[in-house]
């Protein structure tokens, strides 16, 4: 694997995470439990869509001058490089916010490291995204704590969400040859190195939320390398890509 190939994979991983999660969060618009949450979720989704434009824009430049839109709307599922965590369906508000929290925690640590990337463009995107994600994490942490330590029902639902999502957490910390290459070039950290900080962060919040972290370290994987996504991604893409696929070449 050449440096450029690895770099392109890395950028797709960053951009596909924000693309797919932004899409999922946007599904809430008009359906949230209270107006203030509806507006806040839309802000999160908008931030993630904006970050997608930056990451996929850069990925496209390297990939022979493709646009971010071409990458988002014209690749098939096996070419997507997002972690499985972000493609699982929203289910209830509890699972959505727990997923957001588990992702935000990783995202904020990752972006913190990327701000010091040897690649200037990567560092610049990370600086901008990091400001947004710091706020995402603050908000999702507060909500996880509030619902975890709320009523009996909200506690039960949040524990259920955590139990469901936990097996998807490990994939964010698996290192492969793309990561080794990126770490060697000083472009991005080795994901495995982020785990300790991540565990400390989520343990603090989940403890305050009176939730118990499952014992198992089992991790589903196959998203970051595209080897095996969940069944859900295909359905998401059929919606997201429909117009571009049905009317090729049209400009919107």
């Amino acid at each position: 694997m050449t440096r450029d190939e690895a770099f392109s994979q890395f950028l797709l991983r960053m951009g596909d995470n924000t693309l797919i999660l932004g899409h999922r969060v946007s599904e809430w618009c008009g359906h949230a439990p209270v107006l203030e949450e509806d507006i806040a979720l839309a802000n999160t989704a908008l931030d993630l869509i904006g970050q997608t434009q930056m990451w996929l824009g850069l990925a496209g430049e390297i990939d022979g001058g493709k646009s971010a839109d071409e990458l988002a709307f014209l690749r098939d599922a096996w070419d997507f490089r997002n972690v499985l965590l972000v493609e699982v369906p929203n289910d209830d508000f509890g699972r959505t916010l727990m997923r957001q929290f588990l992702f935000d925690a990783w995202h904020s640590i990752m972006l913190g490291r990327l701000m010091k990337s040897s690649d200037e463009q990567v560092a610049a995107i990370a600086v901008k995204a990091s400001k947004e994600v710091t706020y995402h994490l603050e908000r999702s942490s507060d909500t996880v704590v509030g619902l975890g330590d709320g009523t009996e029902e909200s506690h039960a639902r949040m524990q259920e969400a955590l139990d469901y999502l936990w097996p998807y957490v490990g994939e964010m910390f698996v290192s492969d040859e793309v990561d080794t290459e990126m770490a060697a070039a000083g472009i991005a950290p080795n994901p495995a190195d982020l785990r300790e900080e991540y565990d400390a962060l989520i343990t603090r919040v989940l403890t305050e939320a009176t939730l118990s972290i499952p014992d198992s370290r089992f991790a589903h994987k196959g998203g970051r390398d595209g080897r095996m996504h969940t069944e859900h991604l295909g359905h998401l893409l059929t919606q997201m890509q429909w117009l571009q696929r049905a009317y090729p070449g049209a400009s919107w």
Binding site: L35, E36, I39, A40, N43, Y135, E138, R139, D142, G146
Partner: protein, 94 residues
């Protein structure tokens, strides 16, 4: 027990503003969430702004200023909060 989230009045000072101005209201379970909601609803999270939140029923308001028999204020009305005061141009970027 009434489980409606309390109403909060939101005051914001923009980056170059001299003082906090009332911008509107919103609902939130507590002060911390009210501040966060205010960021999302009223500032779109612009940086460098300062936000005050006050639970609406903690605000005492004067009676309408008009004096005289024609505009007699009603003594019996429950407190009703004012909303949506104009934001001056210099903090327009909020």
């Amino acid at each position: 027990m009434n489980n409606e989230w309390p109403l909060w009045e939101i005051f914001i000072r923009g980056q170059h503003g001299m003082s906090h101005r009332h911008v509107g209201s919103l609902h939130a379970p507590d002060a911390e969430m009210a501040i966060k909601n205010a960021r999302d609803v009223y500032t779109r999270r612009n940086e460098g702004v300062s936000i005050w939140v006050v639970e609406a029923n903690n605000i005492s308001a004067s009676s309408p200023s008009e004096k005289g028999p024609l505009y007699e204020p009603s003594e019996s009305k429950v407190y009703r909060h004012p909303t949506f005061f104009d934001i001056p141009d210099e903090v327009g970027a909020m």
